[in-house]
């Protein structure tokens, strides 16, 4: 129980720091700490595969993107500092709604019948041995046999999001090879210069 409370404290404190930090890069670092603590709490719950995926996907890929954006947006000269004078309405409302949802979930979880873990001890070395709850085999079977449809639907939704992003961000001009595009630019420039000359 003691490891759980330590991790819970780290989770809450780092989450608070993430939303209150005045420099975006500090938010990223505290979120990194938060993800690490979350992965550890998954390990305590015997969800070994989920813990590793939490680190690989969220810390390794998604959060890295945040660092990239921050690094490219302000090139290290003057870090962005957010003011603390006004509270934006929409984020505050969203935060209040998620707080209510969180409390509701917590109440429901307390009243729900307890889940009995199959593995009964959790020193880190013995986690997830064989086909027990949370092991890779267990996870894979759930993903590809009993829960295949929701998994595929999620994948489809992500695919739709990717296509949507490409549509929103990319220009829809037909693809032109680089060399021909350079040729077109050159011709346009030459014509512009000729027109200037007249």
């Amino acid at each position: 129980m003691i490891p759980f409370w330590i991790i819970a404290a780290v989770l809450v404190i780092s989450a608070l720091w993430t939303v209150t930090a005045r420099k975006p890069i500090y938010s990223v670092v505290s979120l990194l700490l938060n993800f690490a603590a979350l992965a550890t709490s998954y390990l305590i719950l015997h969800a070994e595969f989920l813990a590793v995926m939490q680190i690989i996907v969220y810390s390794g890929a998604i959060l890295m993107l945040f660092v990239f954006v921050i690094a490219l947006l302000n090139s290290g000269i003057a870090p962005i500092v957010l003011g603390r004078d006004r509270v934006p309405v929409a984020p505050a409302a969203a935060a209040a709604l998620s707080a209510i949802a969180f409390v509701a979930t917590a109440i429901a979880a307390v009243h729900a019948p307890a889940i009995v873990p199959i593995a009964t001890h959790s020193p880190l070395g013995a986690v997830g041995r064989g086909n027990v709850f949370g092991s890779i085999g267990d996870f894979g079977q759930a993903l590809f046999l009993s829960r295949l449809l929701p998994f595929e639907i999620t994948a489809l939704i992500l695919m739709v999001a990717v296509v949507g992003v490409v549509l929103l961000a990319g220009d829809l001009a037909p693809y032109v090879p680089t060399r021909r595009r350079a040729e077109q630019t050159r011709r346009a420039l030459r014509e512009a210069i000729l027109r200037e000359g007249k």
Binding site: K23, I25, Y26, V29, L32, A39, E48, F49, V52, M53, I55, I56, S59, G60, A61, M64, V67, F68, I70, A71, L72, S75, G76, I77, P79, L124, G125, V127, G128, R129, S135, I136
Partner: protein, 322 residues
């Protein structure tokens, strides 16, 4: 608990000593390949050179640029160092007769744990470069992050072929599956892809665009001095050792002896294989010039990634049909 602590302390000592002498041997080997003796002044045959280097780094002044973000600037070397050492929690070096591995923790998802920790290692470079608050480190960091993320994809795909053949994600299980045939034979393409991506992941020549001293001064660690620079330096060499260990475990049969030559113990074979891989690294550094950045990206995305996917599909088909 106490046993784990003692094991960890011993292993840390071994890894740090290996780092120190890997550095010395690299300088020696580079020297010989360039027809000069290499370091030979401190101690007999230059053997005390690592100690002299350490003393120098400790005594150097620790500078922080005015434009730096002090907290992140100080944090970054520790992230690099921590992730570099953390992987040794699951790396097995040998096995007892009953099959229990010589490792601190025998995690079932061992190879996934390695991938997770090494994916966090990028933060040391990107945060360090960003927090220095000057141009060269930022350029080095942005380049390095893009490079490491791009090559990590092909690297993970090259692992999956091995995982499918072995049918397990436990590192001990993978080594045991190679008792008769080492995986670099059935997974030749995967092995080549792994070797290339491993060099890129550790930012070594010819993929050392993160540092690129001819154009970026020192890249992401330009502003660092003293022990903070030393931390990045240690992390780089320990990462090199890590990828050599992974190559040995996944493709070169781990502690299995070749041709049934069980005269030497398994640990000796493991050390020999890792040593050979490290030497290959140093050889590359002495031989190859640096990639141009656009070519590096093109190579990663348009050559390595399709090849790795092809290898994955072919292996999956083979495993399914057998």
């Amino acid at each position: 608990m106490l046993i784990v602590l003692v094991k960890s302390a011993v292993l840390l000592l071994v890894v740090v000593t290996t780092f120190a002498y890997a550095m010395l041997f690299e300088r020696k080997i580079l020297g010989w390949m360039q027809l000069r003796p290499g370091p030979n002044r401190v101690g007999p045959w230059g053997l005390l050179q690592p100690a002299a280097d350490a003393a120098k780094l400790i005594l150097k002044e620790d500078l922080t640029p005015k434009t730096a973000d002090p907290l992140i600037y100080r944090l970054a070397p520790f992230i690099s160092l921590l992730t570099a050492f953390a992987v040794y929690a699951v790396v097995p070096f040998g096995a007892n007769g009953d099959g229990s591995p010589w490792a601190i923790g025998d995690v079932n998802a061992g190879i996934l744990f390695l991938m997770a920790i090494s994916s966090v290692g990028v933060y040391g470079i990107s945060l360090g470069g960003w927090a220095s608050g000057s141009k060269f480190p930022l350029l080095g960091a942005v380049r390095g992050t893009a490079q490491m993320i791009s090559y990590e994809l092909s690297m993970s795909l090259s692992f999956v072929g091995v995982l499918m053949l072995a049918g397990t994600t436990s590192l001990t299980g993978i080594v045991n599956a190679q008792e008769r045939l080492w995986f670099f034979i059935p997974q030749a393409l995967g092995f080549i892809i792994y070797v290339i991506t491993a060099v890129a992941e550790t930012n070594r020549t010819p993929f050392d665009l993160v540092e690129a001293e001819t154009e970026l001064v020192g890249g992401f660690h330009t502003e660092y001095s003293g022990l903070r620079f030393g931390s990045f330096f240690i992390a780089e060499y320990v990462n090199m050792l890590t990828v050599s260990c992974i190559a040995t475990l996944l493709f070169l049969g781990g502690w299995n002896a070749p041709f049934g030559l069980t005269l030497l113990p398994g640990l000796a074979w493991f050390v020999l294989k890792v040593g050979a891989f490290m030497f290959f690294y140093m050889w590359l550094r002495a031989t190859l010039p640096r990639f141009r950045y656009d070519r590096l990206m093109t190579f990663g995305w348009k050559v390595l990634l399709p090849l790795a996917t092809l290898n994955l599909v072919a292996t999956a088909a083979w495993v399914a049909l057998h």
